[in-house]
Amino acid sequence: MSSAPASVEALAAGLRQVGYLPGSRTALVSHLAVQLGKPVLVEGPAGVGKTELAKALATLLDRELVRLQCYEGLDEAKALYEWNYRKQLLRIQAQSAGEGTAGWDAVQDDVFGEEFLLERPLLRAIASEKPVVLLIDEIDKTDQEFEAMLLELLSDFQITIPELGRVEATTQPVVLLTSNNARELTEALKRRCLYLWLDYPELDRELEIVRERVPGLSATIARRLVEVVAEIRALDLKKPPSIAESIDWARALLLLGADDLDQEVFRDTLSVLVKHRTDLDLVAERVGLRLPARAGSGD
């Protein structure tokens, strides 16, 4: 295992180095996950850096990131493994063309070898020689049946393949599951995981994140930007802007060369931040009108 940071502070510093600014809670739970080898269930609104956390951890620990994007109807064949039956057929045909009836037993054993196995993300994470970071993204999109299937993997890090037997992890992967809380996950799954609730960051941390991601933006405008975003989040919107959207907005402002946030700039770039028709109206009315009318015309 490449050197895992020994303390929470070291891990937090490491995450900062790779461009992820963790809250204290995030750093602590990540530390626990790495030290204890327990999966982490990360919940929170969309766009607060759940997936980014997995990427950052992978970079920090110098491990490969194996990602399984979940969706409705995801099944074992796409998540675990599948037999490459085309190749199996070819093998059989090649065999029978070459040697006739001879060697049937050999073929039979042969076609259920690892050579004919198509590894899907979960099996890949388990069977990998080097330890990996496994990200199971948006687990709430799957059925409960799929969740149940994950249980063996999450508690024992092993997968049972009927034809081959049990595949056990030789190395301990760091597992992150993310959920947007679209449905309640089962108790059984939760029991096997550590729990981390990621929320929108406080003002200062968000400022730091925006500065980190969009270094070109001036300090004053970045400050104004996160203040406005915080104000918008306080409104009752269908979809409050996430960190990702703050960053996009910062980039847009940088691109436009805006030197202050006035009403005009705000109106022009609002669609970067807010993506519902009704929300747009609400934000324009409640936040937009409070901004200075023109840059430079005084606050």
Binding site: L32, S96, Q108, A182, L194, Y195, L196
Partner: protein, 515 residues
């Protein structure tokens, strides 16, 4: 914490836990040292309704090993990560954590028979204190040290601390406030009452005060959360003083419903209903398996056939067929949201919400005078609060008079679902069957019941009131199963009836007044 060895003759673990929670400081404390304390802590969490299993307890113990104990925030977060697995659980966890370690600190102080408040305060701070840095708190404390008995100055300092959300300073000021108001407010012995009195004496209000000076935060009104937090500090401080005075811990009480409830107030029962509905789904899925055995149109599974043919040298001797997927139950729910069921509609909506969580093939309607389909709304919105707001606001319920018109509802429902209703579907009506004197239109309801496989009616009124006034539940009872249902327990009863084996039981006859 004193570590006493487990003796074979000692009291059982259950009694020990109970004793540790409820008894005033026992001279020997809780056995098992920190692990023992952790068990007691988990027991308290369980007492507040959190599902904390032994595996979680073990996780917490192992996890604590991986962090430094010197930082209380780390300990708190570690325990939370392993024990509280949803935002709701986390809210309860925080409350219990504060209470538990506050009591633990006080109990320790009492045990050492130290009546010195400072020791207790120090211990409590060590164990449970606030998230915000204490450095700030000390500074602030010294700043305020000037003239502690000038009530106006104290008022202003508190208002400022609340407005700025500085919780470290608030904790210090709470002690100061009790001291300075103490003369004016007599100690009633009931902490809640005292808190309110002190709050009133301090004139902490959320509404703006135009007479306040220019830069005073009270001019704008104080944030509600801030005041609540300050009250929390007051409460702690008062409890601490009381323990100090009496020399023993008061008995622990479960959390106040108000403290733990969600902002939506349907919180706890919501979780309960979700649990029951999950159970309903499981039962519906497994039930009727024997009926599904008939193979109707089966398809040849080419891949499986190929694979089977490997055993016969590539000749497909055994033809494999695709398994017939069990059909998921289809559910139609009709939910009354008129004024006569206002108190119950929150319950109904949460049932509906939970059903949507569990079933994908489901259509739901709300009705007053006419019906309106809200399936999409439930699919789009996850948060219960938003759903109920949206339904109240713009679900498109043509609510002219606010009175239910069942006849119209049945006809519109039939119209909208005509193609989908079939003998496999289940129709569930949530309503009080109060027609306001209008035509109950049982014939239309009978037509629905006939088309659907099963029809259920959940009535939120106690059975005693059925058929009194304008309730016509018995007119419908002939066509469906009627259940009295206004608590999660009764919902569970309904689930049992719904999925009970054998033919549908005779619907319970509503209590009839002598006619």
């Amino acid at each position: 914490m004193a570590a006493a060895p487990h003796g074979p003759t000692g009291p059982g673990p259950r009694q020990l836990r109970q004793a540790a929670i409820h008894a005033a400081a026992r001279p020997d404390g809780v056995p098992g040292g920190f692990a023992g304390q952790l068990v007691v802590f988990c027991e308290e969490l369980r007492g507040e309704g959190l599902a904390v299993g032994t595996s979680e307890l073990l996780d917490a113990t192992v996890a604590l090993d991986a962090v430094a104990w010197s930082r209380r925030e780390d300990v708190r977060e570690t325990l939370a990560a392993t024990l509280a697995k949803s935002p709701d659980a986390r809210r309860v966890f925080d409350l219990v954590f504060d209470r538990f370690f506050f009591r633990a600190a006080e109990a320790e102080a009492v045990r050492r028979s130290s009546t010195d408040g400072e020791v207790a305060a120090k211990l409590a701070d060590e164990l449970a204190g606030d998230a915000q840095g204490d450095g700030e708190a000390h500074e602030a404390g010294e700043q305020q040290g000037g003239d502690p008995l000038d009530l106006d100055a104290v008022r202003e300092a508190i208002a400022r601390a609340i407005a700025e959300g500085a919780s470290g300073r608030m904790a210090d000021l709470a002690a100061l406030a009790i001291g300075s108001v103490g003369g004016a407010v007599t100690d009633t012995g009931v902490v809640g009452v005292d808190v309110q009195r002190i709050r009133r004496a301090l004139e902490l209000r959320t509404d703006p005060d135009p007479q306040a000076p220019e830069d005073d935060p009270r001019r704008e009104g104080l944030p509600r959360e801030g005041i609540r937090e300050f009250e929390q500090h007051l409460r702690h401080e008062l409890e601490r003083r009381r323990i100090e005075r009496l020399g023993e811990l008061p008995p622990a009480r479960p959390l106040n419903q108000l403290d733990r409830a969600l902002p939506t107030s349907a919180g706890q029962s919501l979780a309960e209903i979700h649990r029951v509905v999950r159970q309903l789904k499981r039962r519906l899925n497994t039930q009727g398996q024997e009926l599904r055995g008939h193979r109707r149109r089966t398809q040849v599974d080419l891949r499986a056939t190929m694979r089977a043919s490997l055993q016969t040298g590539g000749v497909p001797v055994v033809v494999k067929e695709r398994a017939v997927r069990p059909r998921r139950p289809e559910i139609f729910v009709l939910c009354d949201v008129s004024t006569s069921v206002t108190s119950a509609s929150l319950f109904f909506l949460s049932v509906l919400h939970a059903l949507h969580d569990a079933f994908r093939k489901m259509r739901s309607f709300v009705f007053v005078e006419r019906i309106s389909e809200v399936t999409e709304l439930f699919e789009r919105e996850r948060e219960f609060e938003k759903v109920s707001q949206a339904i109240g606001r713009d679900a498109g319920v043509a609510d002219v008079t606010g009175y239910t018109d069942y006849g119209r509802v049945w006809r519109e429902f039939l119209e909208q679902t005509e193609d989908d209703l079939h003998p496999r579907s289940t129709v569930i009506v949530l309503g009080d069957a109060r027609t306001n004197g209008r035509d109950p239109a049982e014939a239309a309801f009978a037509a629905i019941a006939e088309r659907a496989g099963r029809t259920f009616w959940l009535n939120p009124e106690p059975a005693l009131y059925w058929d009194y006034g304008d309730s016509v539940i018995s007119r419908y009872a002939g066509h469906c199963e009627v259940h009295e249902c206004w608590t999660a327990d009764q919902l569970e009863g309904f689930v049992a009836a719904l999925t009970g084996s054998g033919p549908a039981p005779e619907p319970p006859r509503p209590h009839r007044p002598g006619r």
